[in-house]
């Protein structure tokens, strides 16, 4: 497996030969920042396109096909449009908070986005409490939603934001629990380390068998809820609250929410891929050496994106199948079902790990 850290190390060494180290780090930061922003934009566009196509296919339609070949340029057109839209300033809103809200959401998704290990040696933020950091920063998003609802000075966004607050905080617990379950298996919080382990010993979902699969399912449900996507899209419940917390946002303000929604979807999927499905680790079958060699020729980031988009598809499949829950049902699902099950699951995993029952 190709280790990307060779490239970055070579680049770093190359620069330090000519210029002082602090400047090198500065330059690298800028490069990384550009990398993140570009990747962020590309992924968002790709995901929006995918969502529109996949949803169309679920609904026996064909989706965008008139702008560019197969409608590939559709989302670009949307972006141009959105950039040129007027941003409405409302008299009665709390202007500063109203303008800040989308950036909270963006910040949260940028920070979580940087945690993802793309390839071997290709991580941006990678330190020993990676998962802990991930959970912590993803919690910033809820502030953005609450602010957006509050600052809009309107009834529907307010209801949406309050729903969202209750929902996100509850489901964060499940996410934490499932991650904790997997940490028991891995024994480390460093994301690169978790993936490396899986490359060496097999994917976590296989190694952890029953409790890992259970955790995976709970993670998918809770992650879906974290992204505010159907069937948990109560905060923006189109048919009830018009557009929920971002009802009053126009132009790019809304555009940021829209982008962040899809990016959160990707981050959720990428995390699932990293923790459960082995991140950039290729698919190995013990004993099939020929097969394994071919698999290892496929670059790591291809594996990673393949897995992440597989999970994205799963999430979309769920979204385009189920009706929306009611707020009390949503909370009872979390507190009565998911929470107790994931607690039980931790114990189960502890037993499995303790007695060496892993595969």
């Amino acid at each position: 497996m190709f280790d990307f850290s060779i490239v970055s190390k070579w680049f770093h060494d190359l620069l330090t030969d000519f210029i002082p180290e602090w400047l090198v780090i500065g330059i690298e930061c800028v490069i990384v920042l550009l990398f993140i922003i570009v990747l962020y934009a590309i992924l968002a566009i790709a995901l929006i396109y995918l969502e529109r196509k996949i949803c169309a296919f679920f609904q026996c339609r064909i989706g965008p096909n008139r702008v560019g070949k197969w409608g590939l340029l559709q989302v670009f057109a949307d972006v141009f449009k959105m950039l040129s839209k007027e941003i409405i300033k409302m008299r009665q809103s709390d202007r500063m908070l109203h303008d800040m809200a989308p950036f909270f959401i963006l910040t949260a998704s940028f920070l979580t986005f940087s945690c993802i290990p793309w390839n071997k040696g290709l991580e941006i933020l990678d330190f020993n409490v990676g998962i802990f950091f991930f959970i912590a920063v993803s919690g910033i998003g809820v502030i953005g939603i609450l602010l957006a609802g509050w600052a809009s000075h309107s009834k529907y966004p307010m209801i949406g934001a309050m729903r969202s607050g209750a929902q996100l905080i509850s489901y964060e617990l499940s996410i934490g629990m499932t991650m904790l379950t997997m940490l028991l298996l891995c024994g480390t919080m460093q994301l690169s380390e978790i993936v490396q382990q899986q490359a060496d010993y097999g994917w976590n979902i296989v190694r952890g068998h029953v409790p890992a699969v259970l955790a995976f399912i709970i993670y998918l449900i809770a992650g879906n809820a974290e992204c505010n996507r159907g069937p948990f899209d109560l905060p923006e419940a189109e048919s009830e609250l018009t557009a929920g917390y971002h009802t009053e946002y126009s132009g790019m303000g809304f555009g940021f929410f829209y982008l962040a929604e899809y990016l959160n979807l990707f981050i959720c999927a990428a995390m699932a891929a990293t923790i459960f499905l082995g991140g950039w680790a290729p698919l190995y079958f013990p004993g099939l050496d020929g097969f394994n060699t071919i698999m290892s020729y496929i670059p790591g980031f291809v594996w990673f994106f393949g897995k992440a988009f597989f999970v994205v598809f799963l999430l979309m499949w769920i979204r385009w199948t189920y009706p929306r829950l009611r707020i009390d049902q949503l909370l009872s699902l979390e507190w009565k079902y998911l929470m107790p099950i994931s607690m039980f699951n931790i114990i189960l995993m502890a037993i499995v790990v303790c007695f060496g029952l892993t595969l």
């Binding site: 296919f57 679920f58 026996c60 064909i62 499949w317 769920i318 199948t321 189920y322 079902y337």
Partner: protein
């Protein structure tokens, strides 16, 4: 397992949710029968019962069948037809009504077909041209008679060889060829309409 118990409920829920997923993925791989409109313009056809725009067929001599009797105008529930006519004296000295302008407001029309059924001559009919969107509202008012057009000389009344069942019904002649058709679809009742109704309007006016 009993659905009312905690675990029974979970199992039942999982089962029903799986059925949902199964159904949606089945449809995912089905064939999609979407009609792609601008691409299928060439093949898009409608039966002649579809009513999208009123028209007055003209033959190759630029002649229409309208005798400017105004029955369609009266039959219209919301005044979307305005017939302007003038009295002219024909060569043999008779006074005759002649159509000057037949204005039809497609923006107001409700496509109820009453004008077509009221027409004793079969001079107007609905066509299947649905592409009618315009930028300017005044373009919605259409003049149906072509410039310089004349009323077709009516053939001698033929005694209906095969009387159709109905005074209402399709326009008697869905005329696409220029041949003047004999009005066999007319029933005596329609003649009566033509005879009586204009007088009544005059009273009302």
């Amino acid at each position: 397992m009993n659905n009312n118990t905690y675990f029974g409920g979970i199992l039942d829920a999982v089962k029903s949710l799986t059925i949902g997923l199964k159904t949606s993925i089945k449809v995912f791989f089905e064939h999609h029968e979407t009609e792609q409109y601008p691409e299928n313009r060439a093949t898009l056809t409608f039966t002649d019962r579809n009513r999208f725009c009123l028209e007055m067929p003209h033959n190759e001599n630029n002649e229409h069948k309208c005798i400017a009797c105004g029955l369609c105008q009266m039959a219209c529930p919301n005044d979307s037809i305005t017939v302007t006519s003038e009295m002219v004296t024909t060569e043999d000295g008779k006074k005759k009504k002649q159509l000057v302008k037949y204005e039809y407001n497609i923006g107001q029309c409700m496509f109820c077909n009453l004008c077509v059924t009221a027409c004793p001559q079969g001079a107007i009919q609905f066509n299947q041209e649905f592409e009618q969107a315009v930028f300017d509202k005044s373009k919605l008012i259409k003049v149906l008679n072509h410039p310089g057009s004349k009323c077709q000389e009516r053939p001698k009344p033929v005694i209906a060889s095969k009387p159709t069942a109905t005074p209402q019904g399709q326009p008697a002649g869905t005329q696409t060829t220029g041949e003047p058709k004999t009005e066999t679809g007319e029933t005596p009742q329609q003649e009566k309409v033509a005879a009586t109704e204009p007088i009544e309007t005059k009273k009302e006016d």
